[in-house]
């Protein structure tokens, strides 16, 4: 692609991604849709705007036919609470360790520290990023990874 074509494609793609994300379309589906557009315009020599029209309208059209999971609010709340508790245990244990005191209930502060780290590790492990993957390579799209 020439720089001009590449720039036009990047702009079209970013607008489509934003709309598809707002419609909660899963990352692998977004990758599928974008790869279709990219291969089509590369084969036909058309611009994305000529072949697929406005990226936002096209994204809405595609999103409407994809079953998307509703926002999982309970999972988000559980992660937030878990993260808060883990952080509190960690901070309190670190403070008590510095003061040479046990944590609540006479538990040694280093055990509290380990517990806090374990809780935080568990919470962060549960949060999996929904990356946009290119079905042709199986790799995450670079520009999207940084979003």
């Amino acid at each position: 692609m020439t720089n001009q074509v590449l720039g036009r494609w990047s702009s079209w793609r970013d607008k489509a991604i934003l709309e598809l994300r707002m419609k909660n379309v899963p990352g692998h589906e977004i990758g599928e849709i974008l790869s279709e557009v990219e291969t089509h315009v590369e084969e036909t020599g058309e611009t994305p705007d000529d072949a697929f029209g406005d990226p936002v309208i096209y994204a809405r059209k595609r999103a409407a036919s994809i079953e998307v999971a509703p926002n999982d609010a309970s999972s988000l709340i559980t992660s937030a609470i878990g993260g808060g508790i883990g952080g509190l245990i960690l901070a309190h244990s670190a403070w008590q360790l510095g003061a040479g005191q046990p944590v609540l209930g006479g538990i040694p502060a280093w055990i509290g520290l380990l517990l806090g780290v374990a809780v935080l590790a568990f919470v962060f492990h549960r949060i999996e990023p929904d990356l946009i993957t290119d079905p042709r390579s199986g790799r995450a799209l670079d520009s999207v990874r940084s979003m």
Partner: protein, 99 residues
Amino acid sequence: MVVLGIVAADPEPTYGYRIAHRLKQSGMGQIKGGTLYPVLARLEAEGLIASSWGEGDGGPGRKFITITPFGRDELKRRAEEWRAFIRIALDVLPDELDS
């Protein structure tokens, strides 16, 4: 259904650009990607076609499309319905219009 027919008529796995080209050749006019790919996605969601990504002819990877056995059955059934509908419509229409 026409798109499904084009996919079914191709002896090899086909792809979007080729389908658009065949549609144009068959007199259906220029079908834009923005119209074609949502149709293909719907056909796939209905289980009428299947797709997989593969190498293109020295070009970018292509999404190859084939009709499923269910798709063939449905195409046959829907084509018969269309033929029946067209026969009825032709019976209703006059052969010649009085001037």
